[in-house]
Assembly symmetry: C2
Homo-oligomer: 81 residues x 2
């Protein structure tokens, strides 16, 4: 089982890293960009299969450890395999 | 138009950040984790719609600027809207 976690800054929060990437891209000739948001991506592989218990613990870990819920949103996608 | 870019370390490359997250999760009582990989996530918003030209420039930007193709893989997903 594999979980994919995407953590992005909330829209209301300043994203200086995204702004820096946007400026760099424009500076290098890539025009027409309205906004860039930079976040984190985690792939977590589990030895066991998908269970409601693992899913619940993973959601808790995302909220408590992997993201900062004050300034970040996360999305959790679980791949069955 | 919005493009979502996910940049992950290649499997053959050491991922100390992923290992650190794995150790931290195990230390905090989340067991059964086989591996963690940490990457970057970018959302790029365009003022204009999707065109083959933008798509090609974006792919080039991913390869040349946003990722390091020696040690990283990237995946590019374009949301039509």
């Amino acid at each position: 089982m594999k979980a994919r976690v995407t953590i992005t800054p909330k829209r209301a929060v300043l994203d200086p890293q995204g702004k820096a990437v946007q400026n760099a891209l424009e500076h290098m000739g890539y025009s027409g960009i309205a906004a860039v948001h930079v976040g984190k991506y985690l792939e977590i592989e589990f030895a066991s299969g998908d269970t409601p218990q693992i899913r619940q613990k993973l959601d808790e870990a995302c909220r408590r450890i992997l993201s900062n819920p004050v300034i970040e949103d996360y999305s959790l996608v679980i791949d069955e395999s």
